[in-house]
Symmetry: C2
Subunit: 249 residues, 2 copies
DNA sequence: CGGTCGATTTGACGCACGTCAATGCCTTGG
DNA sequence: CCAAGGCATTGACGTGCGTCAAATCGACCG
């Protein structure tokens, strides 16, 4: 798996992702509590509002590539994004999927450490890193919040290492479904059926497997009545208890 | 691989790890430039000095376990530490090895996200998280520095995901040797031969392999004149160019 | 409505790496 | 010096997942 993606449904009837702050401004942002913008006073929010530039992109749009100078920092307010790294021969590892409220753009001195591409149509809040750094000086609260986000991401990355290094294919897929469901729940969505907008290839490259193994594992889950496929991108978790057990950590 | 480790040479003749700041205080700390203590004024260093408690531990000593309340934060000033996560059935993933100058103790709300155990004898600088947080309020510089460290760790974690998800056994071992060598170089050590104090089991659990595969891969490298084993814990990188190529990212 | 194209599923088969089992080696201690 | 206890290495063999290849499905379009 590598190369640019192909057309995917931009939205699903009756399951349109929650709309973010695209028009109304940061004060009305529905996902602010999830982002680094959380916990700011009204006055501070206005400072942020002045800095932000809003963007919308269609599916399968490259935002930046690994190694690019990291000039911007983003919050996702709608849709899904994938982050990935490539080996010279094209092998790909997806390091994360971002949903609304997720943050994007931490980078070391060598620029972005991964490439970013939209999975579905997305809305983004974009900040210039330079200007944001100035704001950090004014509002240490923001930097504290950023450290918390980075720490949470690090913890998630460590969990993923455990998954990639030591879990079986079935455990990986079960864990993926359960985690995706939980992330939707946190965002006020039902979480069951799970909305899974990425391709099997994306899932495979996230879980360190092949497309075929992901597909076969899902088929096996279906056969064992653990899940039921409403459509290619909608999976009902029928036996969530058993799935949780498989995903157990 | 799991369970507590067994005796290992505490030091190697002629290769004793660099001594840290154990006696002289932070002002004389040899690894400060690598830690979050970097870039502070003399006065600020004194504040830190007042907070720090120094510890020494022998090899194979557990510092804390995953889930423990995260009361402390550490800097390693001598020796090597491993961080790991366990699955209920005992499968283990080592998420990182720490050397002198490395930082330890970022944690989410569920306490430490990994267990920590010494590999060799170590010296540590220990801070109470609560007190350190107070210092952060006084010196935003410190928090900035902490964010940088967390970001660097996150980037390293993403590299490790790529390794665990997509690299072959030979690539993993080559990458491990080369990175260990580079880390020693940064610390002013020769970096060749590489000093590798952890057991084959530790390496296996770090690379998502088994002891046998690590051992076989090293034997194959030896046979192909890529490396030469001076001892179990000292590996000469004979054909570093070829190793770098295998590790290529 | 039939055709096209890519994504997904399914099947057959192979292999890289895991498992199981000696054997060897190094360190420690009597 | 010998014995014991752990690692580490090596060999033989097994298997989970990858590879290759062929349906099948589903969305889009003229």
């Amino acid at each position: 798996m590598s190369g640019p993606g192909q057309p995917l449904p931009t939205a699903l009837p009756g399951r349109a992702p929650k709309v973010g702050c695209s028009a109304a401004g940061c004060a009305a942002c529905e996902v602010r509590h999830l982002t680094f913008c959380a916990g700011l006073e009204a006055a501070e929010i206005n400072h942020l509002s002045a800095l932000v530039s809003r963007q919308t992109h269609g599916p399968h749009h490259a935002l930046f590539y690994e190694g690019d100078t990291a000039e911007h920092v983003y919050n996702v307010t709608r849709g899904a994004i994938k982050l990935y790294k490539l080996l010279p021969d094209g092998r790909r590892q997806i390091t994360g999927f971002l949903l609304s409220g997720d943050f994007l753009g931490l980078a070391g001195k060598d620029g972005y450490s991964y490439s970013a591409e939209t999975v579905t149509a997305v809305d983004l809040c974009r900040f210039q890193r330079k200007k944001l750094d100035q704001l950090f000086a004014q509002f240490p609260q923001l930097e504290r919040r950023m450290l918390k986000l980075a720490t949470d991401e690090l913890i998630a990355a460590q969990d993923q290492m455990l998954l990639l290094g030591r879990r079986t294919a079935a455990e990986r897929v079960a864990s993926f479904l359960v985690r995706l469901s939980e992330r939707e729940t946190v965002r006020g969505l039902p979480g069951n059926p799970v909305y899974m907008p990425m391709t099997r290839g994306d899932v495979a490259d996230y879980l360190g497997l092949t497309i075929e193994t992901v597909s076969r594992t899902l088929s096996q889950f279906k056969h064992n009545r653990l899940i039921s496929l409403k459509s290619l991108t909608e999976i009902e978790l029928v036996d969530k208890a058993r799935l949780l057990e498989m995903a157990a950590s």
